[in-house]
Amino acid sequence: MKNLFGLLLLIVRRDLLLAMRRRADVLTTLIFFVMVVSLFPLGVGPETDMLRKMAPGVLWVAALLASMLSLGRLFSADYLDGTLEQMLLAPQSLSVLVLGKMASHWMVSGLPLVLMTPVLGLQFDMSVQAIGVLMLGLLLGTPILSMIGAIGAALTLGLRGGGVLLSLLVLPLCIPVLIFGTGAVQAVTSGLSISSHLSLLGALLVLAVAFTPWVTAQALRISME
Amino acid sequence: MSLDIWMRENPLTYVWVGSYAVALLVFAIEVAMVVHKRKITLQQVRLLIEAEESA
């Protein structure tokens, strides 16, 4: 058990180190997120009431798209330099390795978005309370996006036009996350309880942690045969 | 708005042209595609066999 945890930490640290070497990749995801969100007021007009209403949906959809953007890199570098093949042959559990990669992917591409949310929320004139709930929802939801996305990334490994295909496969599966995440914010702005939305998001997160690493490991084995 | 009025005056035509004709057209296209696919596949298989025999 301790061994597995050590392995997990090892992978997370390795991937974070690799990500830090290529900081531009991390930044592009974040810039994309900020840019998409900032385009919406320009597209629909500056009325504050409407913007406040739209904000959770806009931020969630932008986070969804931003996480799609970075998913292609999840396995591709390791695939190209042969590391992934070694990981598949390694005696350690592939699911744990995959979980580590998911965790580091989230820290690099999901967490910065969550931290950026307050600034963007203020742009949309959201209340402090709503921003808090939005951040909490994103904190619970973006790991799920990384984990579901990893399945798609593993299935489309090394395919032509992988990026668009990846979005086509993964986006429909992410709809529940989107619904509960935005639902929580709408609940708090209309004075309802947020606990049901957030606990459902939490339940999805638990399910995702339990199953997606194994499924992704199977997908990697299929793709690497 | 004219479509709305027309639709209420000719409900059966609307139902037929709008739904059933489209559905039958979809079925017809699907059948045509499957038949075409079978033709092409048979041709390919024959070519392959001929190429093997002559080789």
Binding site: T156, P176 | V15, G18, R38
Partner: protein, 245 residues
């Protein structure tokens, strides 16, 4: 009577069997279509509240039922192919997908046409409509993934995994969409309301059976082409009568 089902799980025996069955399914489907349309348009009375427009349900309901059921069939075959490594199951899964997607499309299209006179809008974000749209996306994802992998073995297995993940997700998606919908609209538009007459039910079931038989016939036709394509290097294919002539 003991039938050896495994005998027909090999492409060698399944191919001629399917060839023999297709005309029967196709013919009975055509007869039932004709009967269903006759029952639905001539015998069944027009609805008290919805007038003639309700007659769209004779194609709408069967195609939406089939689109959902075929997804399960597809995922089932895909899972069989993935777990037991049977060639035919994977071929069946990829043969089912296009038909399922087309039924989903027909269900959406006829739903929109039904919605216009009933609700005054071509599209409402109703839970069922939204789920049906997502189902169509799932079909398209399966087809696109299968098509973009060149190696048929890898394509089968990857698409199978996607289909299984999708089928686990379908109930979650359905309930979340349903919940989202009630959250937004307050009162949802109810589909049920009027109890159906016996003749209406009969014509609906006839059309459902017709669509089923059509789906079976077209899937068998498609799977025969897939078998031919995949097994073209085997001896039994070269000995087939239709290949020889």
């Amino acid at each position: 009577m003991a039938i050896n089902w495994f005998k027909y799980s090999a492409p060698t025996t399944f191919y001629p069997l399917a060839g023999k069955l297709i005309p029967w399914f196709a013919a009975s489907s055509a007869i039932l279509f004709a009967a269903g349309l006759y029952l639905g348009f001539v015998v069944a009375p027009s609805d008290a509240t919805q007038g003639e427009f309700y007659r769209i349900i004779y194609i709408h309901v069967p195609s939406s039922i089939l689109s959902m059921f075929l997804y399960l069939v597809m995922a089932g075959y895909a899972a069989l192919g993935l777990i037991f490594n049977t060639r035919l199951s994977s071929m069946m899964a990829s043969a089912v997908a296009p038909t399922g997607a087309l039924f989903a499309f027909i269900a959406l299209w006829t739903g929109a046409l039904w919605g216009k006179p009933m609700w005054g809008a071509w599209w409402v974000w109703d839970a069922r409509l939204t789920s049906e749209l997502i189902l169509l996306f799932l079909y398209l994802g399966f087809i696109a993934l299968h098509a973009s992998i060149d190696d048929p073995r890898r394509a089968d297995r990857a698409a199978a995994l996607l289909a299984i993940v999708g089928s686990v997700n379908v109930p979650i998606i359905y309930f979340s969409v349903k919940w989202w919908n009630t959250l937004h609209q307050g009162s949802t538009i109810k589909f049920t309301g009027t109890s159906m007459q016996v003749t209406m039910q009969q014509s609906m079931f006839t059309m459902l059976a017709a669509c089923w038989l059509y789906a079976i016939a077209i899937i068998l036709m498609r799977v025969r082409s897939i078998i031919l394509e995949r097994e073209r290097n085997t001896k039994w294919i070269t000995e087939l009568a239709e290949v020889k002539k």
